[in-house]
Symmetry: C2
Subunit: 350 residues, 2 copies
DNA sequence: GGCCAGTGCTGACTCGTGTTAGCACCGCCC
DNA sequence: GGGCGGTGCTAACACGAGTCAGCACTGGCC
């Protein structure tokens, strides 16, 4: 006799449920999709529900995707450079939002290769994603291929010049204001030095500096110094060291990002200036190293998680109005900012 | 008259191609899937190909997925803690491998919540992924829910006790050997101090220390000191500072990870010891800060990119033998290791 | 001229689901 | 008792592809 053997465990389908509940597949479908406009007796409804649960029925989303042209799936396409620690946050926020809206995310990276980008784009469209997020690692302007316009699309951390596409970017300008306000609030007034300008036409740099200067101006003061350097810890180290040898020490330092702040810490340590007792340090990005530094670095965070979350949420809710959503950048108030110990003679109590 | 208006641009299907090429849909299907066992004249083949290209036909993968039960899609499920900068690398490697094998990756994170994990798991299965990668941020042992065994599964950066599942992990032990060998090669022999043991039953720590000690032993020497501290820069800073005040300075320091190395740098700077002239520093992980430090940190890299790549490749090629694939950890030879300047009297030329 | 083998293509079914049109039954009313 | 309105369900088609069985035609052979 031919033993039944281990059944190859086919997945249970709607038809299985219908058969077991002794109704037509149509009826099962109506009950399981929860449609009320078709008259199904309460009795049958319960029976189908119960049988479905008992058999562990789960709809085959490949099939519904085909039938409905909605796959409950989004694509996240980024140009992420592998070394960026922010990529994880962006994906994390996106992934969380997707889960909340019962979606799943395809994630892929083009490394800036536009041919690869096109291939990935096609691959997602071929799988009939319901929408796309196009993300960049650094906030910048992008151009989007024309055929992309056929599909729901949200730009993440980037924007198009025309502003004709929905996009999510960090509010860098407000962050600049916040930075200056924080130092002013701690009592720093006229011996605040900026480290890192000019960022070569980089959105973040331009906006941050703009916000800082505007805030200081409206408080009736200005930067006491402006140390130029690239956004690398090594250059920041060298540049600040040179500055400190030729100028009076500032009471506070605004570093345009955490990498610069790291270089600044090392330079300050080299000349024997202590943070925050002698020099306060405030920075931007809240990269992983901020809490590792001694003392822990006070910095204004790039809200990558929140941005990713927001972008996917826009797609999921269909709120696709053109224009930029600016996500606030929160201050991570740690221990590198303190009140200035000695007042310079030109400072005044506020 | 009812103007034709802008056609809602329905995607072109195989049926469209067949119609335009004046063949049956069956024939179109055979040509487009490149099947040769069915006899189609070369003439018709060319015609179909040409028409398909002209119309820009692309198969609907939701449909083939349904028909074939193969979606050309994998799922990557991780417990990633958002703050980890390594997540990006893991995903990057996986994504690249997927692209190479014409697959797309669902990526999702559970944040260690097993209920969320189960939901994501279901969501992927419901979308009929061809296989799953289960990834952890830190190398560790995991337990996999039983029903997962029904699907092709590769463990990434983790393993099951029984070893019954294919898994990809970093070769931490070999890295320990490499670390010791590197210092020995630079001339450090008997004044090498370890900073960071014991890692509380952490795989990476155990293996690294094991490799280091074994290598030193086989070279006829041993660690000159063992400074215990947690894997945080702050604790490393404090612990090393205390050690340096009570002991002769080592010629080389092995830090069990880069965070510890950062604390060590700051402590060495505090007591006026220069890297690498007076103390060489060697570390593990190659986190983002390694190249930012002054001098740049020599460290043995966690091969997250390679591991992600390998895991997806295993799935794509179907090479799913049980047991662990150990991925080598490359030395990033920067500038924090140099030959010791002065020999201690007990050292001998090698 | 009828049979056979080979060539080249197509009809019809399938995957698992959503949806429209319509069928069978019941009770009521005149 | 025959039409009629309502109730409760189902047959049949569609989504876009892959695949099996078989049909129509040709040419050669006895």
């Amino acid at each position: 006799m031919n033993g039944s053997g281990p059944v190859p465990r086919r997945r249970v389908t709607q038809a299985d449920v219908a058969r077991a509940a002794k109704v037509s597949r149509t009826t099962a479908s109506f009950v399981l999709t929860g449609r009320t406009d078709m008259r199904i007796s309460a009795d049958v409804q319960r029976r189908v529900q119960r049988v479905a649960a008992a058999l562990g029925y789960r709809p085959n989303l490949a099939a519904t995707g085909l039938r409905m042209s909605r796959t409950h799936t989004f694509g996240l396409l980024s140009d992420t450079i592998a070394t960026s620690p922010f990529a994880g946050e962006l994906i994390h926020g996106s992934s969380d939002a997707a889960l909340q809206h019962d979606r799943l995310l395809f994630v892929a990276e083009s490394e800036g290769d536009s041919e690869v980008e096109a291939r990935l784009f096609e691959a997602m469209i071929d799988r009939r994603v319901d929408g796309l997020v196009y993300a960049t690692m650094f906030t910048r302007e992008v151009t989007i291929p024309a055929h992309a316009a056929d599909h729901p699309l949200v730009l993440l951390n980037c924007f198009v010049r025309s502003g004709s596409l929905p996009s999510v970017i960090p509010d860098e300008r407000a962050a600049g204001h916040e930075a200056a306000r924080t130092l002013l609030g701690a009592g720093h007034y006229d011996r605040v030095v900026l480290l890192g300008e000019p960022a070569p036409r980089v959105f973040a740099g331009r906006e941050r500096v703009g916000g800082i200067k505007a805030e200081l101006k409206s408080a009736g003061t200005r930067l006491a110094g402006n140390v130029r350097c690239t956004w690398s810890s090594h250059d920041a180290y060298d540049s600040l060291l040179r500055f400190l040898r030729e100028n009076p020490a500032p009471t506070a330092l605004i570093c345009l990002n955490d990498r610069i702040a790291l270089g600044a810490y090392q330079a300050l340590s080299t000349v024997g200036l202590r943070v925050p007792e002698q020099v306060s340090v405030l920075s931007f990005d809240d990269s992983v190293i901020a809490p590792w530094l001694v003392p822990e670095l006070t910095t204004i965070a790039l809200p990558h998680y929140a941005m990713g979350h927001r972008a996917v949420e826009l797609l999921a809710t269909g709120a696709l109005e053109p224009g930029a959503v600016r996500v606030p950048m929160p201050l991570r108030d740690r221990t590198s900012v303190a009140a200035p110990r000695e007042r310079s003679d030109s400072s005044r109590a506020r």
